[in-house]
């Protein structure tokens, strides 16, 4: 089996397991790429994942950098398509289903029942990020001010992101 096909299949499998996004499949991704296929060592895997987190955009793009590392631009394409396509097809099908069922009285309340899980997991990722970023009084102060700013105002969060960066540069 060609390397590109193997990459496509490995990430395609991960795509369908990734309930909750990229962080949910991190252990399985590590097992497949490092232990099963031996495409990279432990340290490289961690560095590439950290790199993807430092960039903007969904964390799932870690797959793309790993594909690049394994087989260059073609590897990047194979990993990205493998990771995105199966999940996107499923989302497409479900969107069609909810559209067909849109007259059903139970659909809206059923969907609203999923909202607390989605919002709760956004809050949880914020708390986990705060735990990692809160290294001293200044970073905790930035976290607190930024929480209040985004919650209580409708100004662009860019202000606090830039302010946080500037304070970090001056004082951290």
């Amino acid at each position: 089996m060609s390397l590109l096909l193997q990459i496509l299949l490995a990430f395609g499998t991960l795509s369908l397991l990734a309930i909750g996004g990229a962080n949910a499949v991190l252990p399985e991704m590590h097992r497949l790429l490092v232990e099963v296929h031996g495409w990279m060592d432990d340290a490289t895997f961690s560095q590439l994942f950290a790199l993807a987190q430092a960039a903007p955009g969904p964390n799932i793009l870690a797959a793309s950098v790993m594909g690049w590392h394994i087989a260059g631009p073609a590897g990047l394409a194979a990993a990205t398509i493998g990771m995105l396509l199966p999940a996107a097809l499923l989302a497409w099908a479900v969107a069609g289903l909810t559209h067909r069922l849109s007259g059903a009285a139970w659909l809206k309340p059923a969907q609203f029942g999923l909202v607390p899980v989605a919002v709760g997991l956004i809050a949880a990722s914020g708390v986990i990020m705060a735990g990692a970023a809160g290294t001293g009084w200044l970073s905790w102060a930035i976290i607190g001010v930024s929480t209040l700013f985004v919650w209580r105002t409708s100004l662009s969060p860019l202000w606090v992101l830039a302010g946080g960066g500037a304070l970090g540069l001056l004082l951290l």
Binding site: I19, L76, P86, P109, W140, I143
Partner: protein
Amino acid sequence: MSETITPGKAALFLGYAKIGLLGFGGVAAWARRVIVEERRWLSERDYAEVLGLGQILPGPNVGNAAVMIGRRFHGLSGALLATAGLYAGPLAILIALSLFYDRYGTTPGVAPFMQGVAAAAAGMVIGTAIKMGEKLRPPPELLAVGLLAVAGAAVLRLPLPVVVVTLAPLGVWLSLRRAWKAGAR
């Protein structure tokens, strides 16, 4: 609730490109900001419902929501444009970063700047969740489900699929029960 605005194809692509490029550390916060507050494509509740479905499906919830929202407005081309907008910018940045990785990591000033941004991004994500909770006003039993999700994922550090598979059916059941009771009265 204010009026919503149906985006054209170019607006759909550009809106999602903004979400992708600004989505440092928390793409979910920026997606809600752009879709609900800035461009008013969907109401708070409509957006939350799409995101809820995106959450129980595999893949990133914001990515799944992009497919569903793109389809709702412009069919297949909408889904493709929203998805391309979301991923193209970050992918280009990521490629550049991996090419210049060694130089980028050791430039003086980058690390403390990024530490400060990371702290602000954490606050941005928490603030977004509080704001959504406040505007959606869930009944007490659904609020409890949301708090359980926070506790399970952030405190107990349970695997996300475990949290979703246990709490999603519970939330749906509680929400349907409330709707049924309201309808029976």
